[in-house]
Amino acid sequence: MSLYDLIWGGVGLLLTVMVLSYLIGDNLLFRLAAYLFVGVTAGFLSVLIINQILWPFLLQPLINGLWIEKIWVLIPLTLAVLLVISQFQRFKGLGRVPLAFLAGLTAAVTVGGAVFGTLIPQLRAVVNAFDPLDWYQSPGMPWLRITEAVVMLVGVLGTLSYFHFGRRRRDQNDPSEVRPGFFEGLAKVGGVFLGMALGTVFAGIFSTALVAMIDRLLVISEFVMRLMGGS
């Protein structure tokens, strides 16, 4: 093991122990590691933004580009200058223009993504499950596919009903509000499906975290073994 590898291995080991020390309670070592991480990440992110975004999209065309590129780049440059200037209290109002541009762009991308990326494919998957051709694709199992399609439909409707907050008052004098009976029943079924979905997501995250824990313990043991001359 070279000295260079030894130093970086030692740094990794030290940081691992410092972070894992949080398991016995919040302490100085954990905070040191966390603040070092914040500083390095902020610095690295700044370098990436400057190198990968601002330089190629803004500064390079302005310095080395053709005159037509220079003219086009004046628009984002103006927006960028306005965004920076608006951070000063006196020029706060100038930030509206770049923020409006960003809001319009984000809203349109969100609408497009929601419709073409999520709503249409997901709804199609729910509806396509009722295709009789699909039921008889694998012999001997049509009942299972029909059941699955129905369960999927009930689950999706139930989950959506769980988040239905449109309520009506029972009567004028009663301030308590109730969900319509149909949605109330579906929402109860949806709660079970929602719980199962969140449980599965939880299991996925837990498995990943557990693998990370095992990996860290392996790294520590391997480093110590190599340090002691073992294989």
Binding site: V19, L36, V47, F57, L83, G95, A114, V156, V192
Partner: protein, 205 residues
Amino acid sequence: MKKILPIIIACATGLTILAGYFFQDRLAPILGLLINWGIVLVGLAGLIGIAYLVRMHIFRIAHRQKGGFYSVIVLLAFLFTLIAGLILTPQNAFYRDWVLNIQTPVEASLLAVLSVTLLYASLYLVRTRGWTPMSVGFLVGALVSLILNLAVFQFQPGSRGEVWALVLRRLPLAGLRGILIGMALGGLIVGLRVLLAVDRPYEGE
């Protein structure tokens, strides 16, 4: 004019991008341009955020506030990483080692701490919320998923066991699909409200 100009910019930008979904061939160059400008602004917003973080830590040191020592570490690590990155470039071997040998152990260890925290939180869930249909669904979903992922049970292809394992794997999809559709509907409504200038988040207070 002060109020109308941002509305015009937001609507024009949004509608141009939306039109690009339908007339991709004709609007592709304009879309690319608009998205590049958006990337520049988002990047700059990120830099402004980092500048605020740095300013806050300088303020803590200057006013000798509690935790000033940690702020010194943040600033030293930030300045070294920034200056070294600008001089050496992110492709440099030493620079990559510096960033990765700090980020990887800390991130992986934080994930490891998360595993213990998650285990504790899942047990705490039943204690605080009781046995509701949702908490039962949560525990069943988590347990079934963990057991299936462990691959303890090996089923013959085409056997009943394999079919049931597949059904159990697909059951949580209903809930996930519901969540996705709900999120998409929410995003669609919020997006349309911004495009129609019903909501104007860029106006501030």
